[in-house]
Assembly symmetry: C2
Homo-oligomer: 363 residues x 2
Amino acid sequence: MSLRIPGPTPCPDEVLKIMSRQMIGHRGKEFAELVHRVTLGTKEIFQTNGDVFVLSSSGTGGMEAAVVNTMSPGDKVLSLSIGVFGDRFATIAERYGADVMRLRFEWGKAVDLDDVKKALDADSSIKVVLVTHNETSTGVTNDMEAIAALIREYDKLILVDAISSLGCIDFPVDKWGCDVVVTGSQKGWMIPPGLAMVSVSDRAWKAHAEAKMPRFYWDFTATKKSTDKDQTPWTPAVSLFYALDVAIGLLLKEGLQNIFTRHARIGQKTRDGVKSLGLSLFADEKYASNTVTAIKSPDGVDANDIRAMMLKDYGITLAGGQQALAGKIFRIGHLGNVCEADIDDVIIKLREVMPKFGHKIPS
Amino acid sequence: MSLRIPGPTPCPDEVLKIMSRQMIGHRGKEFAELVHRVTLGTKEIFQTNGDVFVLSSSGTGGMEAAVVNTMSPGDKVLSLSIGVFGDRFATIAERYGADVMRLRFEWGKAVDLDDVKKALDADSSIKVVLVTHNETSTGVTNDMEAIAALIREYDKLILVDAISSLGCIDFPVDKWGCDVVVTGSQKGWMIPPGLAMVSVSDRAWKAHAEAKMPRFYWDFTATKKSTDKDQTPWTPAVSLFYALDVAIGLLLKEGLQNIFTRHARIGQKTRDGVKSLGLSLFADEKYASNTVTAIKSPDGVDANDIRAMMLKDYGITLAGGQQALAGKIFRIGHLGNVCEADIDDVIIKLREVMPKFGHKIPS
């Protein structure tokens, strides 16, 4: 069995083993030491000296936390969306009463800086910009460094969904000046889903002090008060904290630069492999993601039929297309605990499966 | 090592074992079958034919979900609080703009029905009543059947925090006519923290249709749409779903009535044991909880010193007092995976520890 979706990603043995550890008191000394260690490690992986919090929720909860902690109803927000998850970020802000201007880019493409500049020039009342670093639904990675640099010129708050990239693709949060960055445990962190990690910059704290969107579970003030005491405000997902502690150890042992290089190498290998089968990449290759690759299904072939055969005949789970892309693409996740052999295996099996759908593999 | 706090509770071996299972796709057939099974089992334990959802968050998230899905800002709410968690429920409603009338009862006592009746008579604009079934901070169980019957006469919506009671103390949700009932995975369900389970009645759905408090992660409409397809709206805490599946099997095998009887028997044994040491129960014994017992520290003794010695010398973790009760009480959790021998052990060790604090054990 091989799980090749962009999260949950396969967990290393060390992580699975610690998941079966018995409970301890979440208000005791041992758990406090764990929270302390995990917070420091998370900061290192976020490449930030600011605050970092670990929330017991999925990544979407982290996105909601980013929004409700920094804005008030009526605030003007610019949403840069290149897919399903960019749209979701905008919807969350709208649900809480933000006035969202949605700048949407063709799926498969990255954010166009000129369009962003025009939008920022056209409306000086914009307070916050929402950006997706890596769009899981299309397999596109935005040039976050350039986008952040542009937004910084305009002095707007930058909230980033880096759920499927942080810890896989270089994202120096402080250096690039991003204010709230969100990620999730079941991606590059190599542990099961159920935790969201968020960073909070000084600028974000200033915005927080004025932010009137209602919040309780997600409230950064309560979370900081507890985190500063090496606790969590509400009962945490204890097992996932055990796992995070172990996984951070593995990540830091490999080293951030080595992890980024490995993901870049395997991402390229995936794209090369797909092209060698005569299949087309969905994403603009200039911005192709090193964590997830979307592949167009050949004309007249339902991508979900390819996925079904890969699962039934070879035990390989691939991801499907979402919303308008359902049946049109399938996706290979290559993030977290992944090596070259995992990708070789997928490509070899696709080489056997695709001809059954009438697709001709180039010789 | 013995963990005797009111959650997280010790997990059975079968639960710990499944926690180390590798990830599977959360959008695949196998996980859908698991969600289906878990939803049916949860309904059985809630004793409801209504909807039940499993949210990836701690219990506090479930409380927030109950509030934001059924109310609009400005709604008049009656909060019946007998401790820390009752106060928390009221605070959540206030944060989202509800107009909360706080009816607070002396800590250690239960809700007084006459006071509730007076409050409901005095203000016909009350739409919703917030109640704690079992107050973890004081070890008091409210007479939920009688409270619910009274509120039903006035036709108000009833939201119940049953986090530390459901699955331990009988709570037939439909029979008693409660509208949204919330519990958490790390209590009677015998699995690690990270999931909240909530039931939603037809009346709650009617309220939901009008409810304007903002929500995205907690939204019952999105959750129902996914649950009806045996999915979750956002990536779920997969390992905890594995564990819940196993734990529900254990609970239903023991049988709900047997579980309730066991908790009643062990609760009584705990109180008898504490009294045999010449210590005083904090809670009014008429309403003493069968899941957690709060014990007054003898005059001049800091309860946290007793806890520290129990942990250091005997490896037994007890809970402390919260807020105004810090240092004044300690608490023994006896819920979930607990048997008589666990309580014998605590009492035997307290018999050795208490004289070191100058407390005289009756002969």
